[in-house]
Symmetry: C2
Subunit: 231 residues, 2 copies
């Protein structure tokens, strides 16, 4: 008899919702900058590029933070979302690989804007190590374990060539880092309990190409898509 380990219904926020919370947060902060104190689901949804039913459902997972007949208090919602996302505490980041992309990341202002602090830059290339990027010294990757410990790094960013990425991931994991953001075009293999997110530029382009092609062969010229688009 095979009983499947039941996924315990841990009362959690749906993944799709989590992915949108940062978007809502950004929209709310833009409203704050304009000194707007209150916002309806309809208005906030428009600013965030979603529909209002989805927004309300998403927010309902955090709690009842709106007022019926009125809307949401901007400042309060900013705080609640920030807290839910874990942005009320600081997260320390290390970036490995300081090619063009790594440099871009290190210099990216919005990065450190709230909650994220870049604590270390690491590379292997002797022509890069010892130099300085974004007012930080680039250290040799041999210091990874020590830096993770001394700086309390909790998020590792991998911006190396594909061939080095798995090795770096392994060292991060070994050093106790359980959150990894991977820009290298490889599938990383990590133990259970380690969270890897991937950002892949060429995959995004390929998805765009797919849709563009579909649009192109569906309509020869402004015709709507009819069935039987035989080749």
């Amino acid at each position: 008899m095979i009983s499947r380990p039941p996924r315990p219904r841990e009362r959690g926020i749906p993944e799709a919702t989590v992915a949108r919370l940062p978007v809502y947060l950004r929209a709310l902060q833009a409203l704050q900058d304009k000194d707007i104190l209150t916002v309806s689901s309809e208005a906030l949804a428009t600013a965030a590029g979603v529909n209002s039913a989805k927004l309300r459902k998403d927010l309902s997972h955090l709690g009842s933070y709106g007022t019926r007949g009125v809307g949401y208090e901007v400042e309060y919602l900013v705080y609640q979302i920030s807290r839910e996302l874990g942005l009320t505490q600081d997260w320390t980041v290390a970036i490995v690989g300081l090619g063009n992309l790594g440099r871009a990341l290190a210099n990216y202002g919005g990065f450190g804007s709230r909650g994220f602090r870049i604590a270390a830059l690491l590379d292997t290339d002797p022509s890069v190590v010892g130099g300085s990027v974004a007012a930080l010294e680039v250290r040799h990757i041999d210091n990874l374990e020590e830096v993770v410990r001394s700086e309390g790094v909790s998020i590792g960013v991998i911006a190396t060539p594909a061939a080095s990425a798995q090795g770096v991931a392994g060292r991060f994991v070994e050093a106790g880092v359980t959150s990894i953001l991977n820009f290298a075009p490889v599938v990383l293999s990590v133990p259970e309990g380690v969270d890897v997110r991937k950002v892949d530029l060429s995959i995004e382009l390929q998805i765009l190409a797919f849709h563009a092609q579909r649009r192109a062969d569906g309509d020869g010229r402004g015709t709507e898509q009819a069935g039987l688009g035989l080749k």
Copy 2:
């Protein structure tokens, strides 16, 4: 010679499948480089980081390209996926904004590797315009419309500051570009029929932070091996 596939193709591949095809394609190309001719769904799934049932279902949307009892012929599958994604034709790309990120994109080799050609780099900054990045001259953004027309640009990449992104998007759309890859942290508003994909570094970090926080304070529920009781 290439015989025409006898299988009629359905229109409408699920979006989730489309997003994974590039991953399969990359895994298959890695197998090709190792001179592997045939692969099972199990092996390919492992290389792509998914389970085999999902892989088979995904591939079944393209047609019946496997052989029962054997597996998939690597080269044939590479061709079929490439064709489905529209990579058998060339796509011309223009990048706007040559700050750190734009430069990284322009220099990113994998970009142009297959099917994508960077035809133009555009910026407003006088200290950048006229200079050269990745062996291409950076032109002033006033040339956008002309470049789109003369080079046949079909994909626009926006790597500008947030404040400029909507304006650039509008000009792309006006010039006839219907596929946009946006790296600026704003929600772009575009007409129906224009496809926008967003890559947002700080959103990815925030999602990681959410899960990291959950792991840290959820404790009891999870039975995964904790790496270092670092709290």
